[in-house]
Symmetry: C2
DNA sequence: GCTGAAGATGCGACCTTTTCGCAATTAGTT
DNA sequence: AACTAATTGCGAAAAGGTCGCATCTTCAGC
């Protein structure tokens, strides 16, 4: 299985918990630590929340997962390879929509040109009001 | 003093705590609830943290202050009239820079046109790496 | 200026989320 | 098989924020 190499190659030990945390993040798309723990418990009921937190941190350090702030307070974790879209969070209904990163390309470039700021647009959600929640005007 | 009218006009009672919270937010530019409390305590030592939280919420409901997520976890509060800039948060050094809202105008417009999403760019910080923390290349 | 009712405050308890220390266990090396 | 260092589980506890309740204050009406 390639996944073993993937973790070993990053200099990480291969523990059942660690593999399960990584595959839970991948399976869930995006998830809070609590949700990851719940998913992992389906096959490994005894896993401790601390272990989930520590593994998410470890996996983030080697670049296999990343976290994003969607607003409420807690971070949500993504597999690194999935982080190819912006998150459009609706402040009214709470829904999280996606938009391609390219939608922000000009914005990112102008911040780089004008302020020397290298933007990671996926780290924070884009906050606003989704089309379904905007009152229709006449 | 005009400030009294300002609060009364919004239908709020005028309490020393409320006035102090509002002027603390204005004086600080942006601040966490904890920082607001600390500021208020300079002239009103007994103020309770709950009161600060409740007043920030109340003031936000009537539109005098707004909160922004700068990343770490806690929200930071701004006077509404000051919220005319983006926040560029550096993930390396933690600094918070400003950029005019206009820098995002095209981005906001394209999200509106393509996704019907009405963006509030000030609500979340823009995350990335500031010019001082980008390694110089040859 | 008093008075009463609605609203605000202070206080403490409590909840959620995340971190930490430590002893026991386990992975990977030799 | 044995050793060492990383990892886990567990409980305690740090942050950050909310809530109920008794007391006190604001402000409208008199």
């Amino acid at each position: 299985m390639a996944e073993q190499h993937e973790l070993r190659d990053k200099g990480l030990r291969l523990t059942p918990q660690r593999e399960l945390v990584l595959s839970a993040v991948r399976a869930l798309g995006h998830a809070t630590p609590e949700e990851v723990a719940e998913k992992v418990r389906q096959s490994h009921p005894g896993i401790n929340l601390s272990t989930v937190y520590r593994n998410l941190e470890t996996l983030e350090n080697v670049g296999l997962v990343q976290h994003t702030h969607l607003g409420h307070g807690g971070a949500t974790y993504h597999a690194a390879e999935e982080l190819t879209h912006l998150h459009l969070v609706c402040g009214v209904c709470g829904s999280v929509g996606d938009a391609p990163i390219e939608a922000a390309a000009n914005f990112v470039n102008s911040l780089a040109d004008d302020y020397g700021f290298k933007t990671d647009v996926t780290h924070f959600a884009i906050y606003g009001t989704c089309s379904a929640c905007i009152p229709v005007e006449d």
